[in-house]
């Protein structure tokens, strides 16, 4: 059974999540930031599938389907925003869009 290897998957997903989060914080290109966020969502999917398998319940698997669909919708809105940025400023650097102080 795969349950025996649960920890491997959990560690892998934790690593992926940290990589994604670190990238999202440090990168300046909007699309790369968004890709890093997608890595985080991928890590979450892995956790859900692992636990779905371990708990013998189908709920986690369905959650993955919904996360995928929502991520697609998010990507659509996100890319629209990036295109808007590019048209306005000719760049998708996140720092370029910082007229308001944090």
């Amino acid at each position: 059974m795969m349950v025996d290897h649960q920890n491997i998957y959990l560690i892998l997903s934790a690593l992926l999540f940290v990589i994604g989060a670190a990238g999202a914080i440090t990168r300046r290109n909007a699309i790369i930031v968004f890709m890093c966020i997608e890595i985080m969502l991928g890590a979450v999917n892995l956790v859900f599938l692992t636990f779905s398998r371990a708990n013998q319940s189908v709920e986690g698997t369905f959650m993955v389907l919904f996360i995928m669909a929502v991520a697609a919708a998010e990507a659509a809105v996100g890319l629209a925003i990036f295109i808007l940025m590019y048209r306005k400023a000719g760049s998708i650097d996140v720092d370029r869009f910082n007229i308001m102080k944090w």
Binding site: A72, A73, A76, L79
Partner: protein, 118 residues
């Protein structure tokens, strides 16, 4: 049972060995002369033109986005299809409602002109 796979393993080994062998041997034995034409991506054939960094028309992204969104809706149809018989007429109507909502969005996209290339 695993013995069935031994020919595959042998094949892989032979393939990898041949690849490594030919690369190593040819780079060691052959004479090495570097000049400009040789450095081009395609040494023989037509001369390359323009920059490799080409901008894709923005229309392409719109189509790609629409594809992505509508494509992923199919994800929800697979579990439905698996249980289609158990769900009966009710399940059919439910999925029709789902598709009807998508169809409204499709109508919107179409009317808005996002599907026209020009």
């Amino acid at each position: 049972m695993l013995t069935n796979y031994i020919p595959v393993l042998v094949m892989i080994l032979v393939g990898v060995a041949f690849g490594v062998f030919s690369v190593v041997v040819s780079s060691n034995l052959g004479p090495l002369r570097r000049f400009k034409v040789k450095k081009e991506p395609y040494e023989c054939g037509m001369k390359t033109q323009g920059a490799t960094y080409v901008q894709t028309p923005i229309k392409y992204y719109v189509v790609a986005l629409l594809f992505l969104v509508f494509d992923l809706e199919c994800v929800f149809m697979y579990p439905w299809a698996v249980h289609y018989k158990k769900l009966g007429l009710f399940g059919f109507v439910e999925m029709m409602v789902f598709i009807a909502i998508l169809f409204v969005c499709y109508l919107y996209v179409w009317k808005k002109g996002a599907l026209e290339w020009e």
